[in-house]
Symmetry: C2
Subunit: 80 residues, 2 copies
Amino acid sequence: MKVRVLVSFKESVLDPQGQAVKNALLTLGYDFIEDVRQGKIFELELKDMSREKIEEMIPEISHKVLSNPIIEKFEWEVID
Amino acid sequence: MKVRVLVSFKESVLDPQGQAVKNALLTLGYDFIEDVRQGKIFELELKDMSREKIEEMIPEISHKVLSNPIIEKFEWEVID
């Protein structure tokens, strides 16, 4: 099974990487860009396990290992 | 409008960051992890524009600016 975890800064946290990308795009003439936020994605390949176990474990490892919950938020989905 | 672009290494490219995360998770006892791949996510806030324009421009900036097409692939979706 495959799970995708998206980790991004909370709205209140400055995102200098996203700002740099935004400025690069505007400089290149892509003037339809209003804002850019950058984050991380983790694709986890899992051994066979129950849906309940996935719903217990993925938030746990996202919270404890994959993100910094003080400044980041995460969302996740089963993709395969 | 909001668009999300996911950029990750092609399958044939080694992903040392993903390997490091995998090893960390296994060390912590999460033995249901088979593999981890890490990538980047860009959330783009766009000015109002047509669906056709989005379908033209987002692959262009993903290819030219957000990813390195030699080693990375991307996918994108409108999320808002």
